[in-house]
Amino acid sequence: MGAKASAAALLAGLAVLAGGLQLAGYDAVAALGALWNGAFGSWYAFTSATLVRSVPLIIIGLGIALAFRGGAFNIGAEGQFYAGAIAATWIGLQVSGLPAPVAIAALLLAAGLAGAGWVALPVVLKRRFGVLEVISTLLLNFVAESLVSLMVQGPLQESQHIYPQSDPIADAARLPLLPGTRLHAGIVLALAGAGALFVLFNYTWWGFRLRAVGAGPRAAEISGRIDAGGMTAAALLLSGTIAGVAGGVEVSGVSYALYQNLSPGYGFTAIAVALLARLDPRGVVVTGILFGALEAGAGAMQRDAGVPAVAVYVVEAVVIVVVLLVDAYRRRGPLPAGRPAERAG
């Protein structure tokens, strides 16, 4: 039922893209063909283009699903991702003598802590003063981007002090690759994370209470005797941690260095990923791969069909709007005055 609506949303998005391209004078068939080839055309395209982009989307998407399920609207994953990337780079530059597992663990741990630290301010502001996390987390994204800029032109700038980027991290801190591709071990982390979150939501007492707070905060407090505010804060902190880890994985598995625009908006696209998956961790894996494919195919579309890559954001936007509309319709029902109490007699 949810999957059907999500599939319809994706088809609607692709249809709008195709229609728009045709109207704008492009060859829509060629463009979509290039998109497909860039994403799924070969084993190399699938692993090294699509899945490499899917990894951050899945990991961040899981974090966003966790926050939304717990009633917290974390719009700041982009910033938390960058905070994680900064910390990961810093650790990655220090660990050259260590064994790889230790170095990677240290890097990811630092990235997670940095992500949590980045969301800690919104958590405190919300708990103390009731500041909406939607606004505070969103605004901190811009701060994080500026901080990256500062870092790569200051303390973390490469040793020649010419380019706005960091030195490459130590070999020990790099995630292993699948032979013959650019796909790194982060995909394992993403899949394991989805499994863990699925169990958390569906089988654990804590995960159930988290969902209760998101679905009915008053009832959770009054009938479930749950500290709803504390639960929401925990959800935000965990969500930030996960987004931070995604930043670490990106540095350790893909870029090996910090630079500006490390993320092509992963933190925002992951919101669409989580929503389209209806906040179900299993769905996040599927939608994460789909959106990874869109991002991967966008480059091919620009190269082979001359269509600007940003056109694929139309698909993302349409998907979000359609999913929200379907949700609103479900919530309200087709009847303006239908009340549950009177519907079932």
């Binding site: 089988y203 804590w206 679905a215 009915g216 009054i222 479930g224 009847l335 303006p336 009340r339 007699g345």
Partner: protein
């Protein structure tokens, strides 16, 4: 013969699989107050929503003053002189009384003129209101008053009232019914949906009874009794004792150990400044039902929530034995999560000690079995333990809350308005459960906005008035208690 003010003929309405109205007929004459009765889910509200243009019928016709009309919207209904007071308040809290009236009536918002106009209107109707007050700051009684003023602001000749007295104290109910009577005396016609049969018997001229979407009785109120009306409402399903109307007192000594002990309790007002409860002291022994009689907003809510462990008192001593079962006032936002399944809603009440939670993991199969068992034991009508709570009728939702809170044999039970909006049968079942809990050795503290319910249920009555708890001497009359509620004995 006079033309009916409003005629509904053969109204059909389906909501998905539920056939809410099966060819219902309804005739409202000018100058009459017409009671519309029926169990929860019988179709009363749906029928009135059809007459007010909120729900489009699948079949049937509507006549106003003899003329065939289509009512696609409430705006169309207001244009032909129909006004409605809904079960739930529909005022905008952030706006003033005058602005709310203007919003409903479509009047221009010229602040000064508007205030005068609204003041004059509310005084003419006989329900004075301060036009400048913000709607959110009004007490429940005054909010209800605002709803009625809004409904009568335009040239209303037909007034539909959906359970307007559910939230009112006895005195306020009398005021409201007086206003409705004076409206009908001037030629208006009014429909009153209520669950309180004595109210219908005392105030109405005629009565229509709905059962499962069909009219089973329509006629003059004269000659009817509470027993005959409740028989019509419930049908052959069996003679259920109408406990709401006064049941036999529960026998038995109440000299068990004291399970609830309060002394000198002060409690802050929920979400506001000032004290809601001042220096309250109370002891409830095992096996006793203590009824708290109070008009909305006199501190009873805070008192009950403190006993239930949901509010921290500011000062004083509070000793309550555990576990506590708590039936919260608002079942759809506080008692249940409508989007969650019945099983999940049962799990919501878990404390971590339950057999279906093992090492912090939930055994859903065991929880589901337990829920199925509760559904049977408490006679909850539902599509099954996996259905969302939103799919249940109000009465069954409340029974689900009661099942969750009472099934684990709590030593203390706190119930806030546990039968609000329920029909006689469902209310009777809730009463039975509360009595059984007390008989089983629990200390029960219950508040109801309906004084008769407090009197019917309680072994002992206390009054909360302006935050002060007053013990009522045994043998006090209903009138004396009503006076204590309003004056606080001063």
């Amino acid at each position: 013969m006079t033309t009916p003010a409003l005629e509904l003929r053969g109204i059909q309405k389906r909501f998905g699989p539920v056939h809410a109205l099966r060819g219902a007929d309804f005739t409202l004459m000018p100058g009459e107050l017409h009671a519309l009765l029926g169990e929860n889910g019988a179709g009363k509200t749906t029928l009135m929503h059809v007459a007010y243009g909120l729900t489009r019928p699948d079949g049937g016709e509507i006549r106003v003053g003899g003329a065939h009309v289509a009512l696609p919207s409430p705006r169309a209904a207001r244009r032909v002189g129909i006004g409605m007071v809904h079960q739930h308040f529909t005022s905008v809290s952030a706006l003033s009384v005058a602005e709310n009236v203007a919003l409903a009536a479509g009047w221009p918002v010229d602040p000064k003129a508007l205030r005068e106009r609204v003041r004059a209107l509310s005084e003419r109707i006989g329900l004075p209101l301060d036009p400048g007050a913000s709607a959110g700051s009004l007490t429940v009684g005054l909010k209800q008053r605002l709803e009625i003023v809004k409904a009568l602001a335009t040239e209303t000749r037909i007034l539909l009232l959906d359970e307007p007295t559910a939230v009112l104290a006895p005195g306020e109910t009398d005021d409201l019914l007086r206003v409705v009577r004076s409206f009908t005396a001037r030629g208006g016609a009014a429909v009153l949906i209520t669950h309180k049969l004595d109210e219908a018997l005392a105030a109405a001229d005629r009565v229509t009874v709905l059962r499962r979407g069909e009219v089973v009785f329509a006629g003059a109120i004269a000659g009817q009794t509470a027993a005959s009306l409740s028989a019509a409402m419930i049908g052959d399903a069996g003679a259920v004792t109408p406990t709401v109307l006064g049941a036999a007192p529960r026998a038995g000594p109440h000299d068990g150990p004291v399970l609830v002990h309060l002394s000198g309790i002060d409690i802050l007002r929920e979400g506001g400044a000032g004290l809601a409860v001042r220096q309250a002291s109370l002891a409830v022994p095992a096996g006793e039902i203590v009824g708290v009689a109070a008009v909305e907003g006199n501190g009873q809510r805070e008192l009950l929530r403190a006993v239930a462990g949901r509010l921290q008192p500011l000062a004083g001593r509070l000793e309550v034995a555990g576990p506590v079962g708590f039936i919260a006032e608002d079942r759809t936002t506080e008692g249940l999560i409508p989007d969650f399944s019945l099983t999940e809603n049962i799990v919501l009440g878990a404390t971590g000690q339950d057999p279906w939670i093992r090492r912090r993991r939930i055994d859903w199969r065991a929880a589901r079995d337990y829920t199925s068992h509760l559904l049977t034991e408490f006679g909850i009508v539902s599509p099954g333990p996996d259905a969302p709570a939103a799919a249940l009728s109000g009465g069954n939702q409340q029974k689900l809350v009661a099942a969750r809170e009472l099934a684990r044999s709590p030593r203390v039970v706190v119930a806030e308005d546990p039968t609000r909006g329920l029909d006689i049968r469902a209310a009777g079942e809730i009463h039975q459960r509360l009595r059984a809990a007390a008989t089983g050795g629990a200390a029960v503290l219950v508040h109801s906005s309906d004084l008769d319910e407090v009197l019917a249920l309680a072994d002992r009555v206390v009054v909360m008035s302006r935050g002060v708890l007053i013990e009522v001497p045994p043998g006090a009359t209903r009138g004396a208690i009503g006076e204590l509620m309003v004056t606080g004995g001063r």
